[in-house]
């Protein structure tokens, strides 16, 4: 066991920090307030990721044959921590390098790798994730969006929902039911769909989480070239499981939560609460939640760095992260009082971002089911 960073890791973190000080504009705080999916941040991400890519850091952890540097898996986490802590200037592109790229490396053919990976590695492309449907949320395997092979194209008909970044995305990592007679996990395929195809319509779903946060994506008999099929036809569930393992700990939300908490502690002191033992206690407990989420996430990254098969530690880390997020969102409002009710204020922005933590990437209850089955080996319900 070793809990210290290696010299190389520490140097990498320092270099990333220096770069951020140099590269982030003076109004970054206002750009970042809307979260990774906001217009401002999505636009900023194209420049920012390109400059990360120039330095070789955007995909440092990828193999060199795909535009990476064969850097240790930890470098990706260090980058993620530093970027999430300040509000994720990669915008939606954090997903690309975390799991979309790796899924294409693992399941794509040579032509697909050549087509999709270079633009991702160059920081030039935005993707969205077409998973959830109106009748397939936590129960993802119930999805019904149909893809029927017709000559050299799949004809896609159906609706995806809650799709973050759909309004900006160049491509969609889309789950479809390619075998109409199939049930559940069988008969699902993955299509890598250009978002500019005729018949795709994106509509915003207004929500209390924020402007342009959720979208619905309608596929009205969209002809998707069969060359866009990722992995074997009807076997897309394997791709999903692979991707989800990366996705569930992909966003270093604990780093953002910890940074928010530091700021919140400052604000509490400025507001004359420095000698209030109850405030100190709540802040201290919240800090402990962030730290637990951090160390449990590291535990998963260690597994990944050693290329061990993914385990239920992923779910444990995910739920711990969710708890930290929720606690700090609630505490933000509590400490800032009614000031926090103003849209876009510090507390409001934090609270709204924290709201989705227990629902995104599979509801907490689904994660708890998996922990019960795999970690505790309890009998099936």
């Amino acid at each position: 066991m070793e809990f210290n960073w290696s010299r190389e890791d520490t140097l990498h973190r320092e270099r990333v920090r220096e770069f951020l000080t140099e590269r982030l504009p003076g109004d970054w705080e206002s750009i970042s307030k809307g979260g990774p999916g906001s217009d401002a941040q999505a636009a900023f991400s194209r420049d920012f990721c390109a400059s990360l890519a120039e330095r070789g850091w955007l995909t440092a952890h990828w193999p060199s044959e795909y535009g990476g540097r064969d850097a240790p898996a930890w470098w990706h986490s260090i980058l993620g921590e530093e970027l999430w802590a300040i509000g994720e200037p990669r915008g939606p592109q954090y997903m690309n390098v975390n799991w979309i790229g790796p899924a294409i490396m693992r399941f794509g053919d040579a032509e697909q790798k050549a087509r999709y990976l270079p633009p991702i590695a160059a920081g030039q492309q935005l993707w969205c994730q077409g998973f959830s449907e109106p009748d397939a949320g936590s129960d993802l395997a119930a999805l019904r969006t149909r893809a029927t092979l017709d000559g050299d194209a799949y004809v896609v008909l159906g609706t995806k929902i809650w799709t973050s970044y759909a309004n900006h995305a160049d491509h969609c990592f889309l789950l479809v039911r390619s075998d109409s007679d199939s049930k559940r996990q069988r008969g699902i395929s993955v299509l890598l769909v250009p978002m500019n195809l005729p018949g795709i319509e994106v509509r915003e779903i207004p929500s209390v989480v924020g402007d342009r946060y959720f979208h619905e994506v309608f596929f009205d008999s969209v002809r998707v070239p069969s060359s866009c099929l990722l992995g074997p036809e009807h076997r897309g569930w394997d791709v999903v499981l692979y991707a989800l393992q990366y996705e569930r700990v992909g966003a270093a939300r604990y780093a953002r939560a910890a940074r928010t908490l530091d700021r919140l502690a400052e604000l509490a002191q400025e507001r004359g609460q420095a000698s209030d033992p109850l405030v100190a206690e709540k802040l201290g407990r919240a800090r402990a939640l962030c730290e637990a989420a951090r160390i449990l996430t590291y535990r998963v990254i260690d597994e990944r760095a050693k290329q061990r098969p993914p385990s239920s530690l992923t779910q444990i880390a995910r739920v711990a992260g969710t708890r930290a997020d929720a606690a700090i969102g609630a505490l933000s409002l509590e400490i800032m009082g009614t000031e926090g009710l103003e849209y876009g204020s510090f507390a409001d922005a934090n609270f709204r971002l924290s709201m989705t933590a227990g629902v995104a990437v599979g509801a907490t209850e689904v994660q708890l089911n998996l922990i019960a089955a795999r970690f505790l080996e309890l009998p099936r319900d």
């Binding site: 210290n4 100190a280 739920v319 708890l368 309890l378």
Partner: protein
């Protein structure tokens, strides 16, 4: 970063666990508790194995000592190992200033019975900014009956003899004590949770194992997250030699976790969980004692805020 045991750590843990199978475990804890007795034989076995001196200088091994302390607590060992083999060496840079003496840690600001006082040779008293040590001769400790899993007693300092002043820094003692508490809490939570999970896999009601109900599973899964978070925060802090902030963070998380694990393991075990014939109490009741030490959750959490942000 590396979260896996290296070969030597694995060997240490395997040997200690083998030793604990023979010399500790819930049955032995229950037997000792009947008399409020201390397990001197376990101490002797640990001493013979050499694993009780891993924290000795010149290169004290805090992480390995922490792994052993967790294993002992998980086996419900009735020994003040953590106080004497982790906390005091921690506060003295890896010295065993009182040799093999059994130690009781006393918080001068919180009067009341003290864990392991009845068996202790020396009381190490943490006052606000100084540490004093006392020899506990005959008559200095009044045993107190307790259902909380540890032999405890009230120390009469008037009849104890103060030892010559030792240069022990109060803050160093406090941070190692805090982390020591976490190690014992992690071991006790593991024992409580494991025994409850095993029971709920077997126990059938409504025609099926209780552990198959989702309402039960979610609570156990939450407990597992609480225990694992505590474990890794503790090991990370131990590896770093118990830094004050990391130790307080670990204590805040672990003590909150202990409240959950106590409540849920008992609730889910039903009435059998309260009885001496079922093992749960061996670990669960200890969690309540550990929860109180050094001011408990509130004090640990405020310490985090003080160290990180300069709160009062």
């Amino acid at each position: 970063m590396d979260f896996e045991l290296d070969n030597e750590q694995r060997l240490i843990l395997e040997s200690v666990e083998r030793l604990l199978v023979e010399h500790a475990g819930p049955a032995r804890a229950i037997e000792l508790q009947r008399e409020g007795a201390y397990d001197g034989e376990l101490d002797t076995a640990l001493r013979a194995s050499g694993f009780d001196r891993l924290a000795e200088n010149p290169a004290p091994r805090w992480l390995e000592t922490a792994l052993v302390a967790i294993a002992i607590a998980r086996a419900a060992g009735v020994t003040a190992f953590t106080a004497g083999r982790f906390v005091l060496p921690g506060a003295t840079g890896g010295r065993f200033v009182f040799g093999d003496a059994v130690l009781a840690l006393v918080d001068a600001q919180r009067p009341g019975p003290v864990r392991y006082a009845t068996a202790a040779d020396v009381a190490v008293v943490l006052d606000a900014d100084r540490v004093r040590c006392f020899d506990l001769g005959p008559g200095a400790v009044r045993p107190v009956r307790s259902n909380y899993g540890f032999p405890i007693g009230v120390i009469d300092f008037a009849s104890a003899r103060e030892k010559p002043a030792l240069e022990i820094d109060a803050d160093d003692l406090r941070r190692f004590w805090r982390l020591g508490l976490v190690l014992e809490t992690v071991g006790a939570m593991s024992g409580a949770l494991e025994t409850t999970v095993a029971y709920l896999k077997e126990r059938r009601q409504f025609g099926r194992p209780l552990g198959s109900f989702q309402a039960v599973q979610h609570r156990l899964a939450e407990c597992a997250i609480a225990v694992e978070g505590s474990r890794w925060l503790a090991l990370e802090a131990a590896h770093g030699g118990a830094p004050a902030e990391a130790s307080a963070v670990a204590a805040s998380f672990a003590i909150e976790a202990a409240e959950r694990v106590f409540a849920d393991t008992h609730q889910l075990s039903g009435a059998i969980g309260f009885t001496h014939e079922h093992d749960l109490h061996v670990w669960s009741m200890r969690l309540q004692a550990l929860r109180l030490e050094l001011g408990g959750l509130s004090a640990h959490s405020r310490e985090v805020a003080r160290l990180r942000w300069g709160f009062a």
